[in-house]
């Protein structure tokens, strides 16, 4: 087995880049939507055969065992080439949790099925009354014989209509003194009478989000991961790496590239006001990248990231939005048109970018919640 971490960063980057460039299907590059599994199955098989489905997992569980530095390179190359992340909830969320907190049996059973995508996972965290205030969740799971019986509702469940399993936070002790206590981490099959999935049509007309209703749905007791009522702490433990990833410059960088070719084609740069606003946006992205590098270097030195890493997400998502808003301005009378606009030899879907940018300040902990966290954990402000 290859010890990727023993390679130099440059060698490793080259290896990853070569594989993506040679093997990733051209028609799937920079997909504007989240694909159903069938659409990317062929690519997933290639990745699986190569052993690259789970870059962050330890090698003993079928992962690449990459350290933080190599992992960042892997993701940077993935984003650079526009390689779709695939249906990676299992790899990103369930696997690491089972590896850290699961039993031997759970590891042996679930992990290979995640790698092969025999099971496709969706994440059941948010509820109608539990968004930013996630600990307020109310979906119940009660023990009944050898099963948990689940009742309640999840929402914003990405791609639930194309998933075989759901990993969820459920309330197992409604009488716990604090709402963060009494929450457990549970795995459940989707294909059963008590589970009903309805897609949600978004502003952009996509249907990648779903509502999932549980009406006496069942899952075996052995599908509890970790200790009963300890799910909150476990779920939080997973977020450390996620928080730099969600603040990576790539979305804004790609949008800026689109904005530039579009604006050039449209002659928007003839306007000095537009030029200045473009320069502002471009420099916002460039200086964000410098800050991102500072945090990434911290990871590479083996340090743990503090709560201050959230500032990356705040800055880059708001910057991403401004860039897509500039695209609409550059489009002038076409600023309300759905679908790709042809400018010279480039085609830019102005509204698709605009819509894509909107939820970035909401998901992954809304930017307002991030500001609350920073004000307390980093600035030490009271209250």
């Amino acid at each position: 087995m290859t010890d990727w971490n023993a390679m130099s960063d440059a060698e490793f980057r080259k290896e990853v880049r070569q594989f993506f460039e040679a093997e990733y299907p051209e028609e799937l590059r920079h997909l504007p939507h989240r694909p159903k599994f069938a659409e990317i199955e062929h690519w997933h098989r290639k990745l699986h055969a190569k052993g690259w489905v789970a870059p962050a997992w330890p090698a003993e569980f079928g992962g690449m065992g990459l350290n933080a530095a190599k992992l960042l390179i892997f993701y940077e190359e993935q984003q650079r080439w526009g390689v779709n992340r695939g249906r990676d909830m299992g790899v990103q969320m369930v696997g690491p949790l089972i590896i850290k907190f699961g039993t031997r049996e759970q590891k042996d059973y679930w992990l290979p099925r995640i790698l092969s995508c025999e099971d496709i996972w969706c994440q059941g965290y948010s509820e109608p009354g539990a968004g930013s205030d996630l600990a307020n969740l109310r979906t119940r799971a009660e023990i009944d014989g050898d099963d948990f019986v689940i009742n309640g509702q999840k929402i914003w469940t990405t791609m639930a209509h194309d998933a075989t399993h759901i990993f969820m936070l459920v309330r197992t002790d409604p009488d716990a003194p604090k709402k963060q206590q009494g929450i457990s981490f549970l795995l459940a099959p989707m294909d059963q009478p008590g589970v009903d999935v309805r897609t949600i049509t978004t502003l952009s007309g996509e249907t990648e989000f779903c509502e999932v209703f549980f009406d006496d749905a069942r899952t075996p007791r052995e599908n509890l991961v970790g200790e009963l009522n300890k799910g909150w702490t476990m779920a939080k433990a997973l977020l450390s790496f996620e928080r730099i990833f969600i603040g990576s410059p790539s979305l804004a960088q790609n949008a800026l590239g689109q904005l530039e070719s579009f604006a050039r084609g449209r002659g928007a740069f003839d306007d000095p006001v537009f030029r200045d606003r473009f320069a502002q946006a471009a420099l916002d992205v460039e200086d964000h990248a410098a800050l991102y590098t500072r945090f990434a270097d911290q990871l590479k030195r083996g340090e743990t990231l503090g709560a201050d890493v959230s500032m990356l997400k705040i800055w880059v998502t708001e910057c991403f939005q401004r860039i897509t808003e500039l695209m609409i301005e550059a489009a002038g009378p076409d600023g309300g048109s759905i679908g790709p606009l042809q400018v010279g030899n480039v085609s830019v879907d102005v509204l698709a970018s605009f819509y894509k940018a909107r939820p970035t300040t909401i998901y992954g902990g809304s930017n307002e919640i991030q500001r609350n966290i920073l004000s307390k954990a980093v600035l030490g402000l009271p209250g």
């Binding site: 320069a279 420099l283 410098a290 500001r371 920073l374 004000s375 402000l381 209250g383």
Partner: protein, 374 residues
């Protein structure tokens, strides 16, 4: 050097340099000293200049074989950040970037080099001119037969300098000359700046001056020195912004209204976070820019990098110092509180060598020119 190297090597000697400069300023009284000097008439302290020289400050970007430390612009930026933190009026960025920047490129053997590095003297640089409408204009100040005639404007550090490095015109092109501060026929009109410093408007009528260098090299050296100084001024603004934010953060933690510290109100918290993020982005962006400048020699590449740094630093400093006044409330509008000193210094540093809008334009134009060349 990469940004990583700069940060990790800061573990040892860079951190020592930063700390020694910080300690020097703190012992001398921090920002109180800036207030005292302002109230005393707006100069700087020659003793502090000598102490800074002992700490190795001025020679930081001068190559070792010219009597400096040869540590580059990025390390100069670390010093500039410390100067900004205590809004020190000493001509640190001016000397590292502009006066030594010119001399080391044009006449590295001149005895003034060693005197500047040693903190024995300070020299102001007179290179810009004011047109009839008041805006910057092309140079017309003449140098002939060993004498200067004409005027120069926006001369920073005119108070307290022993002489002026003047970029003037000759029939054969530009020339760099040295005029003593008390030279005949030199009149200095001092315009007081927001921070109490003065910007000199110089007029020469047959003022004797010694030629140091001539020809196209003078123009090239001037442009490079101005670019370096622009980036260092950005670093100074980063230090200023960081400290202005700290002062404000302390204030909102202690100031109580409605029986609570005002920093417990969410609207104040979110604004504080935004200022903090702005500080961190500016620090990371400006430091990265300085490191990049050290690894580039082509002026066409270095110019937009410096502009990127100054644009970011000015945007951040303006926002931070102005919001800082708002977060202080009415006392922020008084001269009693230090936060106003930071606002005033930010106004001066922002206007010097171009503000954010100006530098975004330079950055954009350089980028377009590069794109057109490819």
């Amino acid at each position: 050097m990469t940004q990583t190297d700069i940060l990790s090597s800061e573990q040892d000697d860079l951190r020592l340099l930063r700390e020694s400069v910080r300690t020097l300023f703190e012992r001398a009284g921090g920002s109180d000293r800036a207030r005292q000097l302002r109230d005393a008439g707006g100069g700087f302290d020659p003793e502090m200049v000598r102490e800074l020289a002992e700490a190795g400050v001025f020679g930081v970007a001068v190559p070792e074989d010219q009597g400096g430390l040869g540590m580059g612009l990025a390390v100069g930026g670390i010093i500039a950040e410390e100067v900004g933190r205590v809004i020190a009026p000493e001509p640190v960025v001016l000397t590292i970037g502009l006066s030594l920047g010119l001399l080391r490129r044009l006449c590295p053997d001149h005895p003034k080099m060693a005197q500047l590095i040693g903190g024995e003297i300070s020299l102001a640089v007179a290179w810009q001119e004011r047109g009839p409408g008041g805006a910057p204009a092309d140079a017309t100040c003449r140098y002939a037969d060993g004498k200067l005639t004409g005027g120069k404007a926006w001369v920073v550090g005119a108070t307290g300098s022993q002489g002026f490095l003047v970029v003037a015109e000759q029939d054969e092109g530009p020339v760099l000359v040295l005029a003593e501060a008390d030279a005949d026929g030199l009149v200095i009109d001092k315009r007081t700046q927001a921070d109490g410093s003065s910007s000199g408007e110089l007029s020469f009528s047959g003022t004797p001056a010694a030629e140091l260098a001539r020809g196209d090299a003078v123009q090239a050296a001037l442009e490079e020195a101005v670019v370096d100084t622009t980036a260092l001024a950005a670093a100074e603004l980063v230090g200023l912004s960081g400290r202005a934010f700290e002062i404000t953060l302390d204030y909102i933690k202690t100031r109580e209204q409605f029986d609570k510290p005002i920093g417990s109100f969410q609207v104040i918290q979110h604004r504080a976070v935004d200022l903090n993020v702005m500080c961190e982005v500016a620090q990371a962006g400006v430091r990265a820019a300085l490191v990049q400048m050290d690894s580039e020699t082509d002026p066409k590449v270095r110019t937009p990098i410096a502009s990127r740094a100054k644009a970011r630093a000015v945007t951040a400093a303006k926002k931070i110092t102005r919001d800082a006044i708002q977060l202080h409330g009415a006392v922020g509008y008084t001269d009693e509180f230090d936060i106003g000193l930071y606002l005033n210094r930010a106004l001066v540093l922002s206007a010097w060598l171009g503000d954010d809008t100006y530098h975004r334009r330079i950055w954009f134009e350089a980028r377009e020119a590069e794109g057109a060349a490819q």
